[in-house]
Symmetry: C2
Subunit: 552 residues, 2 copies
């Protein structure tokens, strides 16, 4: 007995092709996907068709959270490959965003997440894996001159009191000049380079040459003392005047060239350490096209390229030892923490320099707004940095970050109230938006600070602030327990409570945000050992598998 | 090209039978029904299969609401056929409920709805339709004696100063005695009888004999001065002692007999008017089995039976004129209003004499609780009764009903707050339950009172109270505008906000309650000429047709 084609209609009266057998009528899976946002895919063995309510996997954290340990599952994050991350700045070593503005800007939440990601990896990866390091350029013969070039390249090897063996280089500063260079280790895993140098003027630069595995394309990544119109990374133009127009020839001779702005990274004439993940820098460079779309984002994985050489131009001194590594977790973590210390404003905040508008511009935050999520994440980075480096500057910055939690949104702070319940706003709009995930992250930050061991500290201000963090955390937890049910639709969750003040439809959380809600709720339920929070999280997991609340 | 059977799985991994054609995979409609509570049915011409999100139709009220006109769409209500209505009491002429207790009790909301239903019908039906009336028993020869019975039946005809022509009857009081009777008009539409009588003792009774069209079953409905163990209506037992056990013989000779408690309907020895809808009384009688289920509820429609005779027993006087009508709207409306006046307690409330528990007994109201919905509905009946009868007792009762709106739930009133927003509770539980539809009905009641024309009234208390009703209404509207978005799931609505305090899943509204939400919201949006309320109602209508709020 087979099936016969039959005509179906749904609410809107639109006919659908259906099939009918002796038992019932069958509806097209495309209808289910469109109507209920479900996901269908062929089963593993290809013989079955699987239908899923949620495309996102529901993860839960390990039971026991250590406020100085890995931060949630951030070790699996990859901030540097996000399409909205324009580059890892060569000046500050932290990511710059182009999410809400085409000119790259510092987004404190992203910077903190970058730090937490690398800290978590540091804590999770085994020591043996980390310590793998290859040194190149140690022997003087490894340093090559740019033979046959129209400008002379000089290399002078001697001992510096501080730095040991160093190379003094003098070479033409044009990017077309290969300068003095060292061939790098070919192992595709060793895509991070690190060295110390002292450039003498703003014409100095260095360049890494990498080769793509897929198509042998040679990619030149130049680090130059130029602001580059604020572009962070840009493609170098090779102008020709054929046909009386300027023609850009990006891939001449199977080679492309990009530049990162190194301007301001350190004072000229001083020693500084350079650490770059070339895999990341190449990917960001290749993604830097002018009118690129989300799909144009290039993500590279270890093995996709290998380093060829590192070359220097202009007047400079380099330590005669180039390190090549697999990762730069420690450096990224410290760069994030240092950025937070150095960029904290008078209010103790990390303001966002671009406008943020939500709800069809019904809620607009002008440039300079603060976010409770940035404050919380910032604290989570800084408490860890304090513990790791035992440098009080990190702790001072962490406690200073608390003040904005006491200031109302309307006065530039991040504090709001939902019908009398305190809330810490990821987006401190007026009226409030009450984004759940940002609030929960801010609570984790407050928790981290409240757990800081201050027994050995002789500073009453710090001790008071740590207690204040505990109070703010507890107040937030009380609100969470009051308001959490308002985010529950009975079959999913709501991203925020903007709809209450705006009188609009609820802003439903898509499944990956639902997964974030579940993860964070489980995290906090674990901190609080709270059965209500835990049960709610369990119910929310059920929603992702098609369970729904009962109707009356 | 046909379809081939294929195996599908869903979230839970359970396999389903699916069909697959060259384009895609087709899922069983039973899955859609179970998973998403959808409704499937064959199209009108039988060739298509229609899938509906909501089984309930979304109705909206007429634009201009008159606080003295029909109440919403209540003219289409049929309180008396609801399975939870045990009977229309022969004592008070208002419904008695068995919803939450097997012993019939007065449920003020139901009584008020009964009144509003019949008032609305009065207002909507054309006058010609209403005035149809047939008089029987006007001629003395129409009054028959129970020939051949073992007890004598006497009929004496004479003129009473007040009542005109009357019949004095003396007959044996046993129910087995047919007494003195009149044959009624055979027209199946004329199922309401009305007459005046004066019984002299508690042995007097009257009986209507009706014949079912379907199976010629004869149904005797007796109205007796007996409390009947509080049963309201019960089947008369015909005991036989065969086999030494008492055997109930309900349908001996194609005939069944039921009794209504007429006890206390009026003082014995006084004239009173009897009005009964026999169609309703027979249906309630046939539904009165001891262990009946919902499905056992008998609903009769005009044409399902015809009246045969009306007989009297015991010592009594009857006016020699029995009216037969199609409906009794006026009588039902007045009975409801009078019940409300006579049963208002010292607090101005109509308390519910049975326990009410919700949320798995997490919220329990002990007997004697008040409901804002009862207070509101009561007011809506009483303002109309005042206008209709111009009797101040109705207005006094209406304004007295306001007081409980000022008293908190915890103190026996109906007032609650949701995070500081005033609410009028259908179920004044602690913590609050915040049922939406009951709140909206209570607002309509307050509105009705606030619109009462008091220009010609010389009573400052009344005038003050009418202003107070306006304030309460306005306060409620403010809360509504604040809290309405909390009932919106993005694909349907939530019945109440119990989940917020209880920390449970939201109590989703089934589609018929969703339709009530839509209707009431449109109603109030119309009163308020409010675009937010109207837009919300429109969006909620969309949900019933499968539209959903966007996710982020
Ligand atoms: Ca967020
Ligand atoms: Ca209700």
């Amino acid at each position: 007995p087979g099936a016969v084609e039959t005509k179906c209609t749904t609410d809107n009266g639109k006919p659908l092709r259906c099939w009918k057998d002796e038992e019932e009528v069958y509806f097209p899976s495309s209808y289910l996907k469109k109507r209920f946002d479900m996901t269908g895919k062929l089963g593993k063995d290809g013989s079955t068709f699987e239908l899923f309510t949620s495309y996102a996997k529901m993860r839960t954290p390990d039971k026991n959270y250590d406020p100085l340990g890995p931060f949630g599952h951030f070790s699996t994050y990859s901030v540097e490959t996000r399409d909205r991350v324009r580059c890892i700045s060569a000046k500050t070593y932290v990511p710059m965003s182009t999410q809400w503005d085409p000119i790259p800007y510092y987004y404190p939440i992203q910077i903190a997440q970058y730090g937490l990601q690398h800290y978590s990896r540091m804590k999770i990866d085994s020591v043996s894996n980390k310590s793998e390091e290859v040194l190149v350029g140690v022997q003087s013969k490894e340093w090559k001159g740019a033979a046959g070039m129209h400008e002379t390249t000089e290399r002078l090897f001697f001992n510096d009191e501080e730095k040991g063996k160093v190379v003094n280089i003098s070479a033409g500063h044009a990017l077309s000049n290969a300068g003095a260079y060292v061939y790098l280790d070919k192992s595709p895993d060793l895509h991070v380079i690190s060295f110390e140098w002292k450039p003498y003027d703003a014409n100095s630069s260095f360049t890494v040459l990498a080769k793509m595995k897929q198509d042998d394309l040679l990619v030149l990544i130049n680090y130059v003392f130029s602001e580059g119109d604020g572009k962070c990374v840009w493609q170098d133009e090779e102008k020709s005047f054929d046909d009386e127009t300027i023609v850009l020839k990006p891939r001449k001779d199977g080679q492309v060239s990009y530049s990162y702005s190194y301007s301001g990274s350190a004072p000229i004439g001083n020693w500084s350490t350079v650490t770059r993940d070339i895999l990341v820098d190449v990917a960001r460079a290749l993604s830097s096209g002018e009118n690129r779309k989300k799909d144009d984002n290039v993500v590279l994985h270890p093995g996709d390229l290998r380093l060829v050489s590192l070359g220097f131009r202009g007047q400079l001194t380099v330590r005669q030892q180039i390190a090549q590594r697999k990762e730069q977790d420690f450096h990224a973590f410290r760069s994030s923490a240092d950025w937070l210390v150095e960029n904290q404003d008078k209010k103790g905040g990390w303001s966002v320099p671009v406008e943020r508008s939500i709800a069809d511009r019904k809620l607009v935050l002008p440039p300079g707004w603060h976010s409770a999520m940035a404050q919380g994440h910032g604290i989570s980075v800084l408490t860890r940095a304090y513990n790791h480096f035992q440098d009080k500057k990190y702790m001072s910055a962490a406690v200073n970050a608390l003040d904005l939690f006491k200031t109302n949104s309307s006065e530039g702070g991040v504090r709001a109230e939902f019908f009398g319940n305190v809330w810490y706003e990821e987006y401190p709009t007026t009226p409030g938006s009450f984004v759940l995930n940002g609030f929960l992250y801010s609570l984790i930050g407050l928790y981290d600070l409240s757990k800081l061991d201050v027994s050995g500290i002789n500073d009453d201000k710090i001790k008071t602030k740590v207690l204040e963090a505990l109070e703010m955390y507890s107040g937030g937890i009380r609100s969470l327990k009051q308001l959490l049910p308002l985010y529950d639709t009975g079959s999913g969750t709501i991203y925020d409570l903007r709809h209450v003040a705006l009188g609009t439809a609820p802003n439903l959380a898509r499944w990956d945000y639902h997964a974030v809600h579940v993860y964070l709720l489980k995290w906090i339920a674990g901190l609080e050992k709270d059965e209500f929070l835990n049960k709610t999280a369990e119910r929310w997991i059920g929603y992702a598998y098609g369970k729904r609340a009962k109707h009356n």
